[in-house]
Amino acid sequence: MKLKINKYLLPLYVLSFCLFLYLPIMILMMYSFNEGGFPAEWQGLSLRWYYDLFESVEIWRAFKNSLIVAVGSACLSLSMGLMLVCGAKQLKKNIVFFFFSNILIPDIVIAVGMLSLFSYFMVPLGLITLVIGHTLLGLGFTIPVLKSRLDELDYRLVEASYDLGASSLYTFRYVILPFLYPAIVVSALMVLIVSFDDFVIAFFCSGSSAQTLSLYVFTMIRLGISPTVNALSTIMLLVSSFFILAISILQARLANYE
């Protein structure tokens, strides 16, 4: 008897744990299909709020801004991260530790510091300053991921390529880069997600001329509850899950190769 309970205790616990984690989101998604506004009871299935969502000019503008910032910061942090990791390889010292602070230092300190810095140097706050902030965060993600992948590279392949007469650029393009592809994709996706989800840096460093999706959701929450935000949240959720699925599959594939 005791054994039987013990056997099912842990899985049951994990199940209820998962339920707790997913509870608010499931309710959110449920209400996004609700016909009535909030706070109403279930009034029937409807895609009404999704239609409203697609017609709203504000949301598209916010989405466009978020997209520009996300893609911009992903490109920047990827390229700089790649350069750093390749350059650091020749240095034989571990400078990657220097970049861990990007994620550890709370974003509110970074955001406030950047705000003061930009104000002092009279840089107008907007999309560019946002990109700068998100790139900083992105560097903290791309560098560790790229570094750990590059460490797995058997350096003899690179040496062989040099021995066969290839130039550095050629070696980079045809030996190192293909090996890094999975890590590049993973870190790019991570930076995209982090940039889309970021709120604090956008709140402090973009004023209100550059409205991003998170800022828009924040304003709507403060004004009260609107079901269009539910529809928006559901979509954001599905997109994030899709990205994470892609990351997980890629990492599983990476593990399989070894």
Partner: protein, 291 residues
């Protein structure tokens, strides 16, 4: 001559590659943090933010009300970290040592909440906590309450949602350190006749200590500066570190005091982190003695 120059440049090529990221880091991380420190030490008006060096700001900020706010945030961060540690550990154990198949599936399941927008999660909790929401309906159904209770705009809501949001942060480090444990050690322990409890206390727990520390400090430090959750769910009744900083910088317009407050709160955070570090060390030593 030219050839030698070319060779020299080539040997320095790594410097060329690592410079941009470093410049970025210095310009946008180190400089802002330095700037905050300088701001806190100066006190002039308008845009000449860095004149008139003075310690006046710090004396202002060391008042009881500010310290109380920092203590409140420390309390919140500690509760969140400890609670999520206790509740996430069994789940990490399950992931790493219990299931053999479907690991990928469960990992995916547990990573999705991690990367969902904080605002979306807070918004979702509105639906559950408000007067006609799930909590009230369930409690009413179970007959525990007669009238709907207002869960929103309370410390309860803040603590609950903080705990919910930071739970996934704790799972990952715990999982990765539990995974690294050599399963042969555990098997050996069982073979030698230990019960599950003994194995857990003496083998698994100490070996997973690195993961516990990383997870705990990650959640502790990050939840200390949290702005969104206290501001949206606390009804703005109490100031936490994050909300106060935002108040200073956006509404109070006193950037010097705000910067000084940031220095104060992070100083206190650092001190409390040291204290926790010491406590962890003590526990480690104790467990070794028991063994």
């Amino acid at each position: 001559m030219f050839d030698e120059l070319k060779k020299l440049i080539k040997s320095e090529s790594y410097f060329f590659l690592i410079t941009p990221a470093f410049i970025w880091q210095v310009a946008f991380l180190v400089l802002p943090v330095l700037f905050i420190i300088i701001l806190s030490l100066s006190s002039s008006q308008g845009l000449d933010l860095v004149r008139n060096y003075t310690l006046h700001n710090f004396s202002e900020v060391m008042s009881m009300s500010h310290v109380r706010i920092v203590m409140r945030s420390i309390m919140l961060a500690s509760c969140t970290a400890i609670a999520s540690l206790l509740l996430a550990y069994p789940v990490a154990y399950f992931l790493a040592l219990y299931i053999k198949r479907y690991k990928f599936f469960f990992l995916f399941l547990l990573s999705v909440p991690f990367l969902i927008n904080v605002l979306v999660q807070v918004y979702a909790w509105f639906f559950i906590l408000e007067k006609n929401g799930l909590f009230n309906q369930v409690l009413f159904f179970l007959g525990l309450i007669k009238k709907p209770v207002n869960f929103l705009n309370s410390s309860f809501a803040v603590y609950l949602v903080m705990f919910h949001v930071y739970l996934p942060f704790m799972i990952m480090p715990l999982y990765s350190s539990l995974e690294k444990i050599d399963i042969k050690l555990i098997e050996a322990s069982y073979d030698l006749g230990s019960s599950f409890r003994k194995t857990l206390l003496h083998i698994i727990l100490p070996l997973s200590m690195p993961g516990i520390r990383v997870g705990f400090f990650l959640v502790y430090v990050v939840s200390f500066g949290e702005y969104v959750i206290p501001s949206l769910l606390g009804g703005m009744k109490l100031f936490f570190v994050g909300t106060l900083i935002s108040e200073y910088f956006f509404i109070g317009k006193d950037w010097h005091l705000g910067a000084a407050f940031i220095c104060l709160s992070w100083g206190m955070l650092f001190l409390s982190a040291m204290m926790y570090h010491w406590i962890f060390n003590k526990i480690m030593v104790q467990s070794k003695i028991i063994r």
